[in-house]
Symmetry: none
């Protein structure tokens, strides 16, 4: 039986900082260690020496998490219980609000041949400027009685579509066939109540194809991941903390917003992110600071780039310590080993520093050393309660 943490929450004036180095985890190859093991990180090593380290399994053994579940786990939300569709994440990332009753989907601008078969699911990854024009055309011209339709551009071929109106349901199958050589799939209702939504989606598809018929490459919009409003309990409800998200990329600001964080103004650099923390230090109890480049380099198979991205974060540690947090944690949301050029299931190093975080014998930050740390190896969701405890924010359980 699991304990409801919110019953133990007690007020405190402590400050918690969670730094997420996106895609931090990796693994040693035959010739060299992981990116973090090879990186020169004197400041993170100092945190490791003075604090406690360990390894996190973001979702479960062998499970490679997307960014949504990986972050939810770090925030203490069971990522299997709280599943977010592509639509919800895209909307959150673009700071569009999905209201109760709305249905959102992720769309790909795609190329069909003259027979209506998919030739390129990403329309040649068309440039943003071209995609924005296409999206504008759709926004201004698609019209279905009784349904308000929002089409918003994300990046390249990626588009968000929101349907708003009475009696809509996300229980509709994708129109994206996820392959080429076949026509877009006809949207099917999974439940009787979704019949009307399936009709709306089919009509949307018809109008889009008519409007884009003369476009050379973006002549269709494939929809997938129909999703509805998600009402996640907020960090404040669950943990009694006023929390803030500091992130350069929209998706991570979006995930923060979904768990009720205050999203601070968009920074452009790590330096900006630190400045935001400093500026808003007194207004929040918990800061989520997101550092993206390690993941981007990992995804590109760029070992040295990932090393450099980790070293850049390392250089920011003294500035974080100057703010005098009570608990400082540096970890990753998941592994992105550059050997794989993709997210992976490998465990993610974590270091926790603070007066109550304890100290183990480990003096360096990296996978091979974290195995011996006082935090042990544990599911990602267990990090949050330990951070709250180390910040004096959880009362004793039982007499």
């Amino acid at each position: 039986m699991s304990l409801d943490l919110s019953t133990l929450v007690q007020p405190a004036s402590t400050k918690i900082v969670l730094v997420v180095i996106d895609g931090l985890g990796g693994f040693a190859g035959p010739e060299r260690g992981s990116e973090l093991e090879e990186a020169v990180t004197p400041n993170l090593d100092r945190l490791a020496a003075a604090g406690s380290v360990g390894l996190l399994d973001p979702v479960g053994p062998g499970i490679t998490p997307g960014s949504g579940p990986a972050h939810l786990a770090l925030f203490g939300y069971d990522p299997v219980e709280y599943q977010l569709g592509r639509g919800a994440l895209s909307a959150a990332g673009l700071e569009y609000e999905i209201k109760p009753g709305d249905v959102a989907a992720r769309g790909n601008l795609a190329t069909l041949d003259s027979e209506g078969r998919v030739v390129d699911r990403r329309a040649g990854r068309l440039p943003d400027a071209e995609a924005v024009e296409v999206v504008k055309k759709l926004s201004e011209n698609v019209a279905i009685d009784g349904v308000e339709i929002t089409v918003a551009h994300e990046s390249q071929h990626r588009v968000l579509v929101i349907f708003r109106g009475p009696d809509l349901s996300p229980a509709v199958s994708d129109t994206d066939p996820q392959t080429t050589g076949v026509p877009p799939s006809h949207p099917m209702a999974h439940v009787r109540f979704a019949d009307r939504t399936a009709e709306v989606v089919a009509e949307f598809d018809r109008q889009v194809r008519e409007l884009l018929a003369d476009h050379p490459r973006a002549n269709a919009l494939l929809l997938r991941g129909f999703d509805s409003h998600r009402d996640l309990p907020s960090m404040h409800e669950r943990y009694g903390v006023r929390s803030a998200a500091v992130a350069i990329y929209p998706m991570y600001r979006g995930i923060g917003q979904l768990v009720g964080m205050q999203v601070l103004p968009t920074p452009s650099t790590l330096e900006d992110e630190l400045a935001l923390l400093r500026e808003h230090w007194d207004s929040f109890d918990y800061f989520f600071l997101h550092h993206k480049p390690a993941d981007s380099c990992g995804e590109d198979g760029n070992f040295d780039g990932k090393v450099a991205a980790i070293e850049a974060l390392d250089a920011a540690v003294p500035a974080l310590l100057e703010m005098d947090p009570d608990v400082l944690v540096v970890t990753g949301d998941h592994a992105t080993p550059s050997q794989m050029a993709a997210h992976s299931w490998h465990p993610v190093p974590v270091v926790m520093w603070g007066p109550l975080a304890g100290r183990d014998q480990v003096e360096r930050f990296g996978e091979r050393w974290c195995r011996d740390g006082a935090l042990g190896r544990r599911p990602g969701t267990e990090l949050m309660p330990i951070m709250l405890a180390a910040a004096g924010r959880l009362a004793k359980f039982g007499a």
Copy 2:
């Protein structure tokens, strides 16, 4: 799905001893190790060298357990499933039996001002002798039709109250406002069935205040933690062991009694505790021996005192081994780091010794060494099945 251990229980003539060093766990600071790491413990180190060590998380990550849940976990009872109120623990500690239908509460003798507002929730922590007089007066004079009321003194301002009679319910709110400057709270029924109990409690409060009106400091009794009879399955039912509790402090004898242990006569010293074990060795299969001073010193922030308390227990190990147990375990119920002067969520070292307990490479007993032990790091509830197995008391599962 979890396995019902009782289906695997098999008879054996083996002896198990569980020594609980209360508040054993701690953490290393910048200058020195934990209390256990710094203590000189040649005998515990010998157990560690010959046996298996590990780390226990009493209730869960980040959870700071009270003594009740912490001990239930060591006895293999899920402490979230079996929650004990203050009333039940107090009653057990005083060896009062709460029968089905009874309602028990923890009471504080308190001081109200002339306007009836709480001035001191503990009546100046009045001396036992004075409190005993007040409790006697209440016992002899409070009378409510159809309800038998027991008022028993615990220590200082602490009192236990038991209401016995038809149609009583523990679903009543506290009269203790947990703060000063306000009058005692009016008892409210949480459910319709508790209406009568709320009236009984209100009438009790009225009579107490009338009887104590002329007392200078203890002129009210604030009640909290209304609780009813708890019918925990016994250790015998669950594990087939005849179990005995040896503890100096009433609360720990009480917890033992709640899980069906035979509570042995009250000892005064660790030497007495050992003598009790020796005397009753043949009559039981499982002995719970409780050693309190490590926790008391930890709560006082007394690092050296806690070290000494651990060393005192260390000196008792040879006497325990002389009794020739098949499984000897030494651990703590929770951490009480002297840096915090309070219980905490940090993991607790455990050593298991015996012919079937295995041996790892660890040769010292303490947090930093236990991280590398054969028992690994695990929830506190997992200790009991391993002890039973090492005592040959669990049959093979499946063909």
